[in-house]
């Protein structure tokens, strides 16, 4: 029988809600800066989800205390190590996207995606 964890999984639910906020920001807004912000909110949702998957109630952070290396005393160190990769990639992608948006703004004088697409219509090179 399948168990439903409606109220125990509140951290994961928060992550899903954050992810949806970011995703709908990405879809609804035509402003490129707001799209980048939505992308960043999605990233944080993923980090929250991964960190929550590593947590085990009542256990210590995976920094060994002298004389105790029993695995049942510490939380899972693997998701914490994986989140780091995600954060680095998120920072890099954000910096690159912001630089691209800055160049687009310099060229077309607007951040609105439709306006930029309209202005690029006549360009052939």
């Amino acid at each position: 029988m399948m168990e439903f964890h409606l109220f125990t999984n509140y951290v994961e639910i928060a992550a899903v809600i954050l992810f949806s906020i970011g995703f709908s920001t990405l879809l609804f807004h035509q402003n490129l800066m707001k799209k980048i912000i939505g992308f960043n909110i999605m990233d944080t949702a993923i980090f929250l989800f991964l960190a929550a998957k590593g947590y085990i109630a009542g256990r210590m952070a995976p920094i060994l205390v002298e004389g105790a290396n029993d695995p049942s005393l510490y939380i899972n160190p693997v998701p914490s190590a994986l989140v780091l990769t995600g954060i680095v990639v998120s920072v890099s992608v954000t910096a690159f996207a912001l630089a691209l948006v800055l160049r687009l703004y310099e060229r077309y004088g607007t951040l609105h995606l439709d306006e930029i697409l309209y202005l690029t219509r006549g360009e052939h090179d």
């Binding site: 964890h5 999984n9 290396n69 160190p77 992608v93």
Partner: protein, 259 residues
Amino acid sequence: MELNPVEIRLLRRFRKMYMVTAFLVSLAMTAVLLLTVFNLPAFGKAGNPAENEVIGRYIEKGLEETGAVNIVAAVILDYRAFDTLGETLVLFTALVAVLMLLKDEAGVFNRRYRERSKFEPEKDQIFRSVAGMLIPCLLVFSIYIIVNGHLSAGGGFAGGAILGATLVLYNIAYGLEKARGFINEKNFLRFITAALLFYSVVKGYSFFTGGNHLPSVIPLGFPGSIFSGGLILPLNITVGIVVACVVYGAFCLFNRGGL
């Protein structure tokens, strides 16, 4: 090219359809994800499928194999050190891309900067004195975090971000000319490439030992002291240098289009 009325009407209709579809898509995705979360194992319970023999292996053998008390540092800088090399290279590549896009050859940024420079905080005496008090403490704190990466929470990425933020604060408070005294474009690129080269050379030895880089040549030291954990301390320092340089370099490029 002006749009004619028919095109405008079509575009309006497309826009309306797009909004409705986007709303439905995000609603459907949220519903699917929430359903998945309800079926996941309970939060924070021991014995979930995520808790398997991998954790046991890392926690039981991590200290004797790597010499690091912090198991996360042991995972990212010893067991999976090549992955961290990839991460620092991703940061470096992002910085190079930003450098290519924003490098200010024509001096447009500089002209714009001079126009608004009378509103810059570097003319502000209160901000300057507070920054003067904060910067030494922040420097010591960031170095503490980087050097204690294998003993406590933190490490090269966290400490490097704080170090980069300190450099940014110095740049804002005292101006670019003064910051150029110790970090300009030339030695900036030297720092970052030297750190990356050091990392790849130091970790590349496992290609010559048959791909097995766990038995370390360096003595692991007494667990809990600063000089323990083999290569983790120097690698934390190199990662910290790269992260600090990337944070500071990105700030300078976005602010004035050059270091």
